[in-house]
């Protein structure tokens, strides 16, 4: 395990750049090569549920980024004091508190979003990505690295759900971010011309199909095979 020892000595050097090569990997790895959704296939439930439209998906993505960064930071700061026998409960308590905070803030400042997303925001608690990163990374790493790791994983999750939402909203409702794309296109070709929206895309089935296609394309490109 020569690489691991090399890494630990690396951390101890105080002069390490804020975004050194090693730290950049925390952010870039989960985007493609170790993506939580497409490679690890975690957090699928919310990826299916919230992605009918771009706007709620974006709010969901921001919420997950917030919760993951803050949870990773908190757990990392407490990592030497958390009793190992109750660590899962401690993680759960921290995540649940953060999620409740997000929910309360949304209710106060973005009530429309709260009405639409409240159930799914609550489900961030059970999002395997969050608990997974806490258990696998934040418990054993320094706060700054943990923040980067949480941010990277959340970003990997976010861009996938945004991509799914883009196709589902475009094909299912004929719009992107609520801007009617299909109508505009039809308008260019005169009144006779109209594009039909696909009702399948609005249901969770559509998300499965889009997600499957994304995973397919990605694995063909990277050559990733499950062992």
């Amino acid at each position: 395990m020569s690489t691991e020892t090399a890494q630990t000595t690396d951390v101890k050097q105080p002069s390490e750049a804020l975004l050194s090569k090693r730290r950049k990997k925390f952010i870039t790895d989960p985007l493609i090569d170790d993506n939580p959704i497409t490679i690890q296939v975690l957090g699928i439930c919310s990826a299916l549920a919230v992605t009918t439209q771009m706007q709620p998906t974006l709010v969901m993505a921001i919420s997950v980024i917030f919760v993951m960064v803050m949870a990773n930071l908190t757990i990392s700061l407490l990592r030497n004091t958390i009793p190992s026998r109750v660590r899962i409960i401690v993680q759960l308590a921290v995540v649940a508190t953060l999620v409740t905070l997000v929910n309360e803030i949304l209710k106060a400042f973005a009530f429309d979003m709260y009405k639409e997303l409240s159930v799914f925001i609550g489900l961030i608690i059970t999002n395997c990505i969050v608990m997974g990163r806490l258990e696998a990374f934040a418990l054993g790493n320094k706060p700054y690295d943990s923040i980067l790791d949480g941010f990277g994983s959340a970003l990997g999750y976010s861009w996938i759900i945004l991509a799914v939402a883009f196709f589902r909203e475009l094909l299912g409702s004929g719009s992107v971010f609520g801007v009617p794309v299909y109508e505009t296109i039809s308008g260019l070709f005169g009144e006779e011309f109209s594009l039909a929206t696909n009702g399948l895309m609005v249901s969770p089935v559509g998300a499965f199909i889009i997600l499957g296609l994304i995973i397919w394309v990605q694995r063909t490109k990277t050559g990733y095979v499950e062992h």
Partner: protein, 258 residues
């Protein structure tokens, strides 16, 4: 590293207290803002029955509240159409704060029925329409809405519907403007003064413009459409006494002018 039980318990207690304080603190700080957000949302929904969604979405929240204050007056009536001002505990009732969903769980005789009156600016007697809340069950969960009636108390000026969990693309279409517009101009009383409500039909794409009591249905969402029908029928019949009293005062006003 194996910690002692005392350490684990102390740690858990401190963590619980800290997180608990954090949560209750935020809740306290945010409560007034949340209350305002809920109030704004209710008022937007009420106005949704008489204004189209685009106009409302263009208004800022202050404009919505101001418009509401200027144009809407409200009261609460009981099943007999008589105004009630105080609840059983003697507290005064504010129509905007009446929780329709909670009232829905009581028997119809014991419910509070808010009435919102849309009047011309500054003159509460010059009524433009009467807005009534409705509440019921869709396919998966609750559905609700507001129905605005013209001063003849039978022609529908406009409706707005909301839902908790109807199927997107099917039942959830009750929130679409195109669906809600189908109710405009329909009649809830027939020629002899009997309440018949307005009924969504099975199937979609037929023209019901000739029939004042029927509207085009929702293809693939018949259960939600039936829920809407039951909701309208139930609540309009609960408001029947109030509407009848409104009708007779209107008639007597006409008579006195003649």
């Amino acid at each position: 590293m194996q910690q002692s039980n005392a350490y684990i318990i102390t740690f858990s207690v401190i963590l619980t207290v800290v997180l608990g304080l954090l949560l209750s603190g935020t809740s306290q700080v945010l409560a007034p803002i949340q209350k305002k957000a809920v109030e704004l949302d209710t008022k937007k929904q009420i106005l949704g029955a008489v204004l189209d969604a685009e106009t409302i979405s263009k208004m800022s929240s202050e404009e919505v509240l101001e418009f509401y204050d200027k144009r809407i007056s409200s009261k609460v009536v009981d099943i007999n159409g008589e105004e009630i001002e105080k609840d059983s505990d003697g507290n005064s009732i504010i129509a905007e704060n009446v929780d329709i969903g909670k009232n829905f769980k009581r028997s119809p005789e014991n419910r509070q029925y808010p009435v919102f009156i849309f009047h011309t600016e500054g003159n509460e007697d010059e009524i433009e329409s009467i807005i009534l809340p409705v509440y019921g069950s869709g396919l998966w969960d609750s559905i609700w809405g507001y129905v605005a009636l013209q001063t003849d108390v039978t022609t529908i000026e406009g409706v707005t519907f909301g839902h908790a969990a109807e199927t997107p693309g099917l039942g959830a279409r009750i929130t679409a403007n195109s669906v809600q517009a189908r109710f405009e101009g329909k009649q809830i009383f027939d020629g002899s003064g009997e309440l018949v409500s307005v009924v969504m039909q099975k199937g979609e794409g037929k023209d019901y413009s000739g029939d004042p009591h029927k509207v085009d249905g929702l293809s693939g969402a018949t259960i939600t459409a039936n829920g809407v029908n039951d909701m309208l029928k139930n609540y309009l019949s609960h408001y029947k006494e109030y509407l009848k009293s409104k009708k007779s005062t209107n008639n007597s006003e006409v008579a006195s002018v003649n």
